[in-house]
Symmetry: C5
Subunit: 88 residues, 5 copies
């Protein structure tokens, strides 16, 4: 799993029905110094807003299980909002 | 998931029967600044044309489920056309 | 699988229930020279502390099976503490 | 999926029985300009020869399904020979 | 799949029981020129020794199937010893 920061969202009207009513968030993937290093498009599950630091899981089965689905075209999800990061 | 832009297509006559009649699109993977950063070959599911910005899912189970299949040699699909990208 | 070193942990109160009571450790991924090269957030399964060298598996099914689960939003786990690394 | 070019093959006598009689091809992965950018070892399914441009799928379930198997230690396969690449 | 070269092994006494009695080998991943480019920790299945060139599969389901298991925290295995590499 990775630490990300929500930077925006994507609007897609022609899309698979799974995405109807689901927020597609653009998340910068953060490196260990908190700097952006790539991004992913993740479906929000916790009400994360732009600027928040989040936990991202990028794995299809995890993503489907969070939605209680066995099928669904999804791979990355925001699974948590990160309150603090404690490193030595 | 990633944001991509369709840049062309691949013609393959000697191929697995799954691909008969399916469009194999070359998609540039876009970075957060909208610049190409690698590519993937994805099967189209939404009628995306060259130059369009699309949502790409690169995961085998997602890809098969979009086609209603439990088997099938496929990993990347174009699952949506992106209308707009809103970032801070 | 990769060799990692635990560098800290992440606190996330708004999160999927799976993570309740589970330690989310920040692990530097080490290269062959033992230098950090990226990181992952992994769930601890062996009581690894900050500074310890660990074995990390980054695969959803492996991760779920360690917890005896068939579902669960998890991909990376610390599966062992490394005592020594012997290379030529 | 990726575009590759077959550059050679690997001979392995001590190996898992799955590979008995199967050609293990070395394939350069091509970037969007057709230049090599990494490689993979893929099992041939279409009779691809050295120098041919091919479609490569690097996903375990896809690979097993092409061989009609539910088990088998395989991840990357050559699934097609590419006749032409049309880009703007 | 990738070509690797065994460079050592990892000793881990506090670990998941799956790893009891199994050799955790450090394998340099080789590029097309035979130079090291990253590494992985793989479980040996063919008696590979330090310095040998090997075929590595890095996929959880493949890895479990080689051991005849449906569960098991494993992703990378050494599945063969490479005798020769023939490239143009």
């Amino acid at each position: 799993m990775k630490i990300g920061r929500v930077s925006g969202n994507v609007v897609s009207t022609i899309n698979h029905p799974f995405f109807d009513g689901r927020a597609l968030m653009i998340c910068d993937i953060l490196d260990v110094d908190g700097e952006p290093d790539g991004y992913t498009i993740a479906v929000d599950t916790v009400g994360a807003g732009v600027g928040e630091t989040v936990l991202i899981i990028d794995e299809g089965n995890s993503a489907r299980q969070i939605f209680g689905l066995t099928t669904g075209p999804i791979r990355a999800v925001i699974t948590g909002i990160i309150d603090s990061i404690d490193t030595v």
